[in-house]
Amino acid sequence: MIIVWLRLAGIIVIGSTIVYVLVSIYSRSVRRERLENEWDTDPAREGLPRDERDAYIEAGIEAYRHSLRKRLIWLVYIVPLVAISVIVYVVN
């Protein structure tokens, strides 16, 4: 019985971690692309040195690190647990 639960927990942890890593990489990549596009399409910033562009993007990524959006990715761990609890409650 305990072994079965441990197996279930292990599967959930491993699966959620894979999803978490993939989603965070994707989310950060999308944010970086948006920052790059913002800089590149802004006429006021044309001709500014490349250092400033890099600094702008790094600042944006740093802001993203503390954003709600990044924190919401933790839902990847919470949603399966909630789903299982709901199923257990409804079925039994």
Binding site: V4, W5, L8, Y26, I87, V90, V91
Partner: protein, 229 residues
């Protein structure tokens, strides 16, 4: 020839996925319960279609065992076609119903048993198939009384689950495209630029190698999305 093999493979894959979902997702039958009983059931090669013994008891998932399994007989509103459900715990991993109240469900089923003259119609939520040739029975998960045999049930759970699967496939595709755009393509660009340097340095040798490179790039090109026809 290759087209047939390719399409045969795709259709087989699609059938596999659809069959898997059809087996695993819950369905509801409107039936009248006619009998509930236990039966000593030997489980052999069809073990894949059976779940585990009562959760919390000794592990009896081994092949070639005999288990006492609860069954529920039911008849459909047409009065002729019948269905036999098994009533087993599902255990804790697959299929993810997390059902461990088979005894309670059996008691509910017995309570809702009724006869022709005074029918009590129920909705039996179940998954699985009835395959008489392999002695395979769908597993009843939940039994709820309904008003009559003609009640319309909306499969909300299946709608939610299938939407979630579609969303996951959509997101995986987005993620893959993003990965290719941001990581694979720039890497290929680097290779191309490095190759140009080599090319400039040794024209004759590179001329030959470039054929290989062009072929490799063409091969990579086959992985790109093509405009829809």
């Amino acid at each position: 020839m290759w087209t047939y093999i390719k399409w045969g493979f795709r259709i087989a894959l699609l059938l596999l996925v659809v069959g898997f979902l059809h087996y695993t997702l819950p369905q509801r039958d409107i039936v009248r319960i006619t009998n509930t009983y236990n039966k000593q059931t030997p489980i052999g090669a069809n073990a894949i279609f059976y779940s585990s013994g009562d959760s919390g008891t000794a592990d009896t998932t081994a092949v070639d065992t005999i288990r006492d399994i609860r069954f529920i007989d039911a008849v459909f509103p047409d009065g002729e076609s019948v269905m036999v459900y098994r009533n087993e715990d599902t255990g804790w991993v697959w299929p993810p119903y997390f059902k461990y109240d088979s005894s309670t469900l059996q008691a509910e089923a017995t309570n809702l048993q009724s006869d022709k003259t005074n029918p009590q119609w129920v909705a039996v939520t179940h998954y699985g198939w009835r395959l008489p040739i392999f002695s395979v029975f769908p597993n009843a998960v939940r039994i709820t009384p309904v008003d009559g045999p003609d009640v319309q049930l909306i499969p909300w759970i299946n709608i939610v689950i299938l939407s979630m699967i579609a969303f996951v496939i959509f997101m995986l595709r987005r993620m893959w495209l993003q990965f290719r755009e941001r990581t694979v393509d720039p890497a290929l660009q680097d290779v191309e630029e490095a190759w140009d340097v080599v090319d400039a340095r040794a024209d004759a040798a590179a001329g030959r190698a470039k054929g290989v490179f062009a072929r490799t790039m063409a091969w990579f090109g086959t992985w790109r999305a093509k405009p829809r026809r």
